[in-house]
Symmetry: C2
Subunit: 333 residues, 2 copies
């Protein structure tokens, strides 16, 4: 498969240009292009330019308002509510972030609910700025049914990722971001696009039969990681990013969605905690480095975000290889 090397600013400009062409205003185009660039820079190609056709599809179908202006309310001292008014998630997140951080700095912990958004990005790009502000961050979001509840036969939960970020003084934050499925839907899509088969135990076809064909699994369903434990986490995400904040569960989002290939309307929950207010203000950071050291001194163990940070340094220097088949697809937009 042939690839083309693109600099990060070229990726950002390409995404921005196309989003503007299909009706985004500058603020929304820029917010979405930034998360696409961040994903490509970190080597998370499944959330990079590969998502651009999906973003465009939702603008073309009119499902998403590319000029949406998020509104922000404080529902309680530690509760920030952001209504995306049917826009893409990145701009709503960007606008709400400072309010969440301010509430956490004041109360010690705060929660941000996001409703009326269309989420199509990687969660770590959203938790990282919280950690860069010195706060511990957590985020979760649902999607459309893709994962079978433990003991069941049909997709009910979204892939429902959770992300957790931890600020570090002399290093980029430690951030993990993991789907509640054994494999992220984005990775299955990537396997389908590149013609790879899937390992055993990742998913089932539309009849509930185990399959290694990513195309069949995309029509069927994924399995939760770790059996009933991952399934419980997927359920928790439905409740936090849906039931708790008055947004859709994945199965409701799917019913309402127009199936244009882009993200449905849904919700997201973020929590931020200020470690300076939890009782060990002077020592929590140095102390926690001891844990990271203990992890890294073991054979092949590493911190979840180490690869992303390494990729980012390399991408800043040398750009990113993008598949020509994807660039061809984008050029038709």
């Amino acid at each position: 498969m042939s690839n083309t090397n693109l600099k990060l600013n070229e990726i950002n400009e390409l995404a921005t240009k196309i989003l503007l062409k299909y009706g985004c205003d500058n603020e929304n185009a820029s917010a979405v292009a930034n998360v696409i660039e961040a994903a490509e820079a970190a080597g998370c190609h499944s959330h990079g330019l590969m998502r651009l056709p999906g973003y465009v599809a939702t603008l073309k179908s009119g499902k998403v308002n590319g000029k949406a202006r998020p509104t922000i309310e404080n529902l309680a001292p530690a509760v920030v509510k952001v209504n995306g008014h049917n826009g893409f998630a990145p701009y709503a997140l960007q606008q709400g972030r400072s309010h969440l951080i301010a509430a956490a700095n004041k109360c010690g912990i705060a929660v941000m609910s996001l409703v009326g958004i269309h989420h199509f990005a990687a969660l770590w790009t959203e938790v990282e700025p919280i950690a860069n502000a010195g706060l511990v961050g957590f985020a979760c979001t649902s999607y459309k049914p893709a994962v079978i509840p433990a003991g069941g036969t049909k997709a009910l939960y979204g892939t429902n990722p959770i992300a957790f970020g931890w600020p570090r003084k002399d290093n980029p934050p430690m951030v993990f971001d993991q789907a509640s499925s054994v494999m992220a839907r984005g990775e299955v899509m990537l396997a389908a696009r590149e013609g790879h088969t899937l390992p055993d135990g990742v998913g089932v076809d539309i009849n509930g039969t185990p399959s290694n064909d990513p195309n069949e699994v995309l029509k069927g369903a994924l399995l939760a990681f770790g059996g009933h434990k991952g399934s419980s986490i997927a359920m928790m995400v439905e409740l936090l990013a849906g039931g708790l904040i008055g947004e859709s569960f994945s199965f409701e989002a799917a019913v309402r969605d127009n199936a244009d290939g882009g993200p449905p309307q849904g919700g997201e929950l973020m929590i931020a905690i200020d470690p300076s207010l939890l009782g060990d203000a002077d020592n929590w950071s140095d102390h926690s480095e001891k844990l990271f050291h203990k992890i890294k001194e073991q054979k092949d163990a590493r911190l979840p975000s180490d690869r992303r940070h390494k990729n980012r340094i390399e991408s800043n220097r040398s750009g990113v290889m993008v598949a020509d088949i994807l660039l061809d697809k984008i050029s038709t937009l």
Copy 2:
């Protein structure tokens, strides 16, 4: 194996009597006995009377102060800090709970850090009262190294359970409580006591070799559920219940511990969220029942706490069968 039927109040009285004998005051003995009774009632025998010899060992060795008086501070509007002053966790949790609930009712979300406690119970018994107060609850705690970090070879993380509770109007709360290991250490202890072998993929012996012998695995280490994803959750628990709040990581707790067979000193983190302040006060509960309905209509899927609630009804009616080998052991105390 022979068993004896005990009524729940008999279990409570037996535990109370022994805890008082070994130096607990009434408040601490009662708080611990209540969580032992709750575990037996719910069919979670691994956290019931089976733990009594361990509680006693810590009192005999002088590691735990059975007369500890927890102190409570508000570090910020939404932060409650409880210092257990080297007592058992149940009394500290009981004393802090109303402060956590009050802070969540006021701020929308609140966090309680518990330090200087010795935790030897099931987390669901702690999250359930939060849910019974109408709040969404989350709790996590670390222990002593038992779980290998993904890619590593040696136990570093505790079994590090997380629990999540969701209040329901016409039903007992939905609560799940799951160790970050494939199998809880309590279950492995139970298998060792009852002479069962373990399934594949649960743990390794002291040399890092996979083993099905619970006694070997208790000396060796457990694997995290779902590979690197469960490992990341175990790490998150270390950070939340240790680094964030100024308490020990599992590996530090083990170094300080006197290995008397009971729980080391450690920390715990609880979060409570008031759903009436998250933007969908009138509908969140009914709405969320639709998700539970969708889960339960699938073949063998069930809500995580259904079995506990069912066991509890049965135990209230008919008491609990307790292994005579355990009662013999307790009678020597």
